[in-house]
């Protein structure tokens, strides 16, 4: 009993001393402190515009099936195959703050391997050496040895104190975002993601800039989900009616996996998966894909935000959007709004009237406008040159066409 008390005392004392030494050596990490990598993004932010946007903007209108809007460059990025090659153990690390936790992983791997092989070797050696065989008998030896017990209690104690301490320190960095970060709201539900950027753009893929800290503010519509991007080494449960947070500092542009890690029912493994695209006959022409994490090259994130904004919210109300497109797409160089005849007919006061075309009289209505935008030469007005107007097939989205129509209605 006495020896046991001595044993407990020694262990307690060792733990206290080790913790004291650890604290003295490394100081106390505080949750509020600015983690090491925080200042870097500001410096790295400066030069982005020097490189021209790497992926060329949408390659010439793809010969897509009728009516299907062309893929934008950022959707093409998202549809790239996922490149996460890392080591035998881990996918590559794309998060500046994850490198410390990777180092801890490998350190513990080495430690575990050492202990495992030491114990295995000891077991095999002892079992072989003292195996039962004729003439062999168990020999007497001490039934216990306090010095040995203290040794093999104290050594693991010291090791675990250090493991805890470094794990905690790194963890504080992993969960404390810098003051300035790109904030993105995350809404998860069964079984999809919605990432809302600061300018209101919504997407089911997560697009983030490289070399800038990104902070996610997350909540769920229904049950628990978890945001997990393996290359970022970041995971956080998403709880309904409450916000949880995650952040990372992407270091390499690319397309990476984005998964739900908290079981959420039927399509838990399929979160954010798009439907297979099928042609009229029901054949799959493009497989659906899961939601991904796209880290943009410098400058591309801003471009993504702007273009996606145009796409989703451009001009706010449809009439504005239509007017902007009239200018942006260069319609104004041929079509006037004041009745002047330029290369093409003016738009003034035409809505609802009858138009004489090569195919007879046609009402200037929604269908005529749509057809004229998509295939201008199908019905052309008498007295104007044929084949001058470019076809916008594949370049305009549904809401663009709606906007143009809404705007045209206002041109009295």
């Amino acid at each position: 009993m006495k020896s046991f008390k001595r044993y407990l005392f020694t262990i307690g004392a060792t733990a206290v001393v080790t913790i004291a030494i650890a604290l003295a050596l490394f100081g106390t990490p505080t949750a509020g402190a600015q983690p090491g990598p925080a200042p870097t993004p500001a410096e790295k932010q400066a030069p982005p515009q020097t490189t021209p946007p790497a992926p060329a903007p949408a390659p010439a209108p793809a010969p897509a099936a009728a009516g299907a809007p062309a893929k934008t460059w950022y959707d093409e990025l998202a549809a790239r195959p996922i490149m996460e090659e890392g080591t035998f153990w881990m996918p590559k690390s794309v998060n500046a703050v994850a490198d410390d936790s990777d180092r801890m992983f490998y350190a513990v791997l080495a430690l575990s391997a050492f202990f495992f092989f030491a114990i295995t070797a000891a077991v095999i050696y002892l079992v072989w050496k003292y195996r039962h065989r004729p003439g062999h008998k168990a020999e007497p030896s001490a039934g216990h040895n306090d010095a040995l017990e203290i040794t093999w209690t104290v050594i693991p104690t010291i090791i675990t104190v250090f493991l805890f301490y470094y794990g905690w320190r790194t963890y504080v960095h992993v969960v404390t975002p810098p003051q300035k970060a790109v904030e993105i709201n995350v809404l998860a539900w069964r079984w999809n993601w919605q990432f809302t950027h600061q300018n209101g753009v919504e997407d089911s893929d997560l697009h983030v800039p490289v070399n800038q800290p990104v902070r996610l503010v997350m909540t769920s519509k229904d049950v628990l989900h978890a945001f997990y991007a393996p290359v970022m080494r970041v995971k956080q449960d998403i709880v309904p009616r409450r916000y949880t947070y995650a952040w990372f500092l992407p270091t390499k542009p690319g397309t990476y996996r984005l998964t739900c890690a908290e079981y959420c029912g039927t399509d838990h493994s399929q979160m954010g998966k798009s439907q297979d695209k099928k042609d009229a006959a029901g054949h799959v022409i493009e497989k659906g894909r899961r939601a991904v994490l796209v880290v943009h090259s410098p400058g591309d994130y801003e471009r993504y935000l702007a273009e996606k904004y145009e796409d989703q919210k451009g001009g706010g109300d449809p009439v504005d959007h239509g007017r902007k497109l009239y200018e942006k797409k260069g319609c104004n160089s041929c079509h006037s709004l004041d009745g002047t005849i330029k290369i093409g007919p003016s738009f003034k006061g035409r809505w609802g009237t009858q138009v004489q075309t090569n195919a007879g009289a046609v009402t200037f209505d929604e269908n005529y406008v749509r057809e004229s935008l998509m295939t201008p030469n199908a019905k052309y007005q008498a007295g104007f040159p044929v084949g001058t107007m470019p076809a916008f097939e594949g370049q305009l989205k549904e809401r663009d066409i709606e906007g143009i129509i809404a705007w045209m209605k206002t041109l009295k």
Binding site: W89, M90, Y130, W152, P156, H173, L224, V239
Partner: protein, 606 residues
Amino acid sequence: MATQATGNPQPRQDKYGRYEGPVNEPDFLKVSKGLRSWLLTLDHKRIGMMYLYGILGSLLVGGAFALLVRMHLWTPGGGIVQQDTYNKFFTLHGGVMIFLVIIPGIPAALGNIIMPIQLGAPDVAFPRLNLASFYLWVSGAALLVGAVPFGGLDTGWTLYTPYSLESKTPVLVATMGVFLLGFSSIFTGLNFITTIHKFRPQGMGWFQLPLNVWAIYATGIMQVLATPVLGITVLLLSVERFAHIGIFDPTLGGDPVLFQHFFWFYSHPAVYIMIIPGMGVISELISTFSRKPLFGYRFVAYSSISLALLSFLVWGHHMFVSGQSRLANMVFSALTFTVGIPSAVKVFNWVATLYKGDIRLKTPMIYALSFLLLFTIGGLTGLFLGILAVDVHLHDTYFVVAHFHYVMMGSTLVAFLGALHYWWPKFTGRMYNEQLGKICAVGVFFGFNLTFLPQFVMGSKGMPRRYWDYDPQYTIYHQLSTIGAFVLGISIFISVIYLMASLKNGKRAPQNPWGASSLEWQAPTPPPLYNFEKPPVLHEIYNYDDMIEVEPDRWVRQAPDTAEVSEAPGDAHAHAKPDVATAEPAAALPSEGKPVTPTEPPEDKS
């Protein structure tokens, strides 16, 4: 001086109080016949046997679900079943294996059969409670498995809210099952704690207890203290589901994370309810087959108790990414590492026991050595998950799946199989096929590693758990894992077959086939209704000095009557309660246990 245990009904004594020897009582399997004599028995061995059959049946059911899951995951892209079916497979695999197999496996089945005999006692303290807890187990199991005909459960065994509140599957049926199973576990724990306190024979102090009894004692503490929380939790969940009171449901102002706190407050100690009895068994096996006293007996005994107590303080490590506060994460991470230390102490002591031994690689010893290596891997990989920064990456991936299978299956189930092979001859009276036993033990070891080592790699590469579909990069690991699962499954299946076959064709088992020192090996094989014909003679625990193997698999003590109990240092006799043991059980003895005319000579014919 030999001390005679008093934990016995003492049927025949001469006028000097000495026992007339050998009496030929029929063994407990033959003492009465008919289904009724089994279903209404109060005999701890028969109740344990019924548990054992139930558990082996559940093991096959749970194993079948496991193999279905592994078959489905052979290829990416949604192998053989639809999402919902797959979700039901892994939920039922988890639920059946944890609640029906691993938690009751060693304590309720083998502990029930063996532990009272190890104490030299005629039965447990409360035989009727024992039978009640068996029927609670049966009812709970019926409800849990009964969820299958009602459509199957798809919540995961963890029943996390709010998903479990909304799931269209019969959650209520399953939670009622879990509730009953919890009570079964509490009753068993209560019964065993009382038995160990009160039924130790005079002269058997706490430090002459076999370590298996220590482990069951530690387990009992956890069962009694932790399981009520599970009961309350599933009850609240059930009430929430039909009455919408707003405890866990966020739309009613409840907190879904609170459920996780409640759940893990039970389920973390439950991990130790599963593993500590395994550790107790391994202590017995390693000592017996090394012919050496267990090294550092006290340290191993105390480490069981300290694990039991510490296990209550670490539940938060299941919730590092749940959204709980950083402070809580820090505290739970620090506390989590403390449980590693008693575990490490145990492993080192087991290894040290082999030193200068005379090691016999019988089937149970192969399982014990497997346990040693698998538990080492399970424990070491726990370090990764205790480290906050690393856990953020590994949480809810296959790394965790592999880790807890190493602890719960690689350790507990392997210990269960080891224990089953070790005590099988004692309570069935038959030897199993040793060759097949060894082959299957090795098959279990390699099959297990092939199943779960690839899962560590998958997990650290970022494969989330509970996924119906996966990225093609993981295919090779999944396929290795599936092959391993079949090696494992077939090995266990063959084990069950040859064990059952041994009941008919097995060689008759001698009284003490392994040369073990604890009291159950002094009882006849199989033991009679009240376990001992004459009170067992206490010897120093784990002392094999005077035992000789008179023929293969038959050991006797050289001079049992002159063997002395060494006076253990300190408080050996302080806790012994001489009279209780004879008074209490007598009142609770079943009426079926009237002395019966012997029909055949006792054991010891091989």
